[in-house]
Amino acid sequence: MDAKKRDKLATIIIYILVGIVVLILAGIVGNILISGIPHLSWHFLTSEASSYQAGGGVRDQLFNSLYLLILTTIISLPIALGAAIYLAEYAKDNWITNLIRTTIQILSSLPSIVVGLFGYLLFVVQFGLGFSIISGALALTFFNLPILTSNIEEAIKGVPQEQREAGLALGLSNWKTIRGIVLPAALPGILTGIILSAGRIFGEAAALIYTAGQSGSTINYADWNPLSPTSPLNVMRPAETLAVHIWKVNTEGIIPDATIVSAATSALLVIVVIVFNLGARYLGNKLYRKLTAAK
């Protein structure tokens, strides 16, 4: 076979492989959306889940998922950002740094059910936080930190070395160079990292079953005092998320329309993740432009 033919063959094979990946992804997402969207309705989004009868919604689960995502991001982002800045900018290349990196890699491949059980023992039992949003958010922070840290570290490392040198040569201190030049330059990458990990948090079930719990409490959406037990913002109440809801109606649910509810919930989950992606990208671009524009 001559070089030309081989090149052609390689190209064809690559196209086929890409086609397979696209087909699988489109198949899964398409299937979820096609079987779920017809059952999505305003009623489904705004009513409580039902325990026995058909026709329940996912109002609380949707709120819980978003709330947990926001809380987890608020807790994990500063920690991950600090760790990533350290690893990318300050850490010397020695065995301690290697140990930290290896630990992060191991943690990021930890099965989420293990994180969940660990969170159950530590936060729910040991710290006495019970099945609560805060237990869930802390467990998800453990789950999220390694990936978020390495994503942000990669984004920071992607900023060309010349930019740092140019900053130092202008008389900026190390920290000012990082804050004023490296971080703004890395922002799009950092945001992508946050979005990627947010998708994982939003869809996570196993880590939450034993930490945030599988039952909902009565929520009064008119009550926005975070200390009140029926407030949606109360972090001490148990909270079932969309992903946990799908798991529950399919395993122990006794509602007659379990298939419909889980199909619709799955579609909702996928749609929210897509919306979140696009929204964060839009915000990221705007933020980037604002940070880099003339002040």
Binding site: A169, L170, G171, A185, A293, A294
Partner: protein, 251 residues
């Protein structure tokens, strides 16, 4: 002529490896000095000693004395920010920050604590004019500097270095990443400016050194072989090895 930077017996080593073996060299005010020599001869390393850009490298040891304006720049009393304000730098790869042209050029001033908007505006315009990039940028001051061509980016970087009104500008192969047209534009810019600033330029391009520099210093394997007025050195080098290098017999 006044000496603005003087280096005395500068040794530099990374761990056990000595890269500079005692360099003695003076730089004159408002002249362009070219540092030439084969790759790895230590010319960039030496250049980076002059504004202490080598400080953060691990296991580095620098001895000897470098004086800028009669102050020992390696003394503990030296304010690094102050030094780098006086001794600016332009790198091989154009490295504008991912900000607008205006913010790039204004950055050094803002860091230095200048708040007066009018002064900043005026300095930005002046510096961009000096760097011969005003025409291309005056209507696009808010455009991201990285959206310009390589040669334009490099001139924006020169403007950024000039904005704080340094006395000396170090240039580390400023044109080697650029196409010939952009390179000659940068050369013209430097020619126009060398009566106002002191330039110290590392270059691989002997023709370039011959065209625009007043003084030339030839380094090899970490030693300063010969230094003097460019014309003299290019026409009648004192040492055989300089002559061999200038005639392209090695390097």
């Amino acid at each position: 002529m006044t000496t603005i930077i003087s280096a005395k017996d500068v040794h530099l080593s990374y761990g056990d490896y000595e890269a500079l073996h005692g360099i003695n060299l003076n730089f004159q005010e408002k002249e362009l000095t070219a540092l030439i020599g084969p790759s790895g001869c230590g010319k960039s390393t030496f250049l980076r000693c002059l504004n202490r850009m080598n400080d953060d490298i691990e296991n580095i040891k620098i001895t000897g004395e470098i004086k800028f304006d009669k102050q020992d720049i390696y003394s503990s009393k030296m304010d690094l920010v102050e030094l780098r304000k006086e001794v600016g730098m332009v790198f091989q790869q154009p490295a504008p920050f991912p900000f607008s042209v205006y913010d790039n050029v204004a950055y050094g001033l803002k860091i230095a604590g200048v708040k007066d908007k009018e002064l900043i505006d005026q300095r930005v315009e002046e510096s961009l004019k000096q760097a011969a990039i005003w025409k291309e940028t005056k209507d696009n001051l808010k455009r991201n500097a990285q959206a310009f061509s390589g040669g334009q980016q490099q001139r924006i970087c020169i403007a950024r270095a000039l904005a704080v009104r340094p006395k000396v500008v170090l240039l580390d192969e400023p044109t080697s990443a650029l196409d010939p047209i952009s390179s000659s534009e940068i050369e013209e810019t430097l020619m126009d400016l060398k009566h106002k600033y002191t330039f110290i330029m590392v270059t691989h391009n002997l023709q370039q050194a011959g065209r625009i520099s007043d003084q030339t210093a030839f380094l090899m394997n970490g030693d300063l072989i010969e230094a003097g007025p460019t014309e003299e050195m290019f026409i009648a080098p004192k040492k055989q090895i300089t002559s061999d290098y200038l005639n392209g017999r090695f390097g």
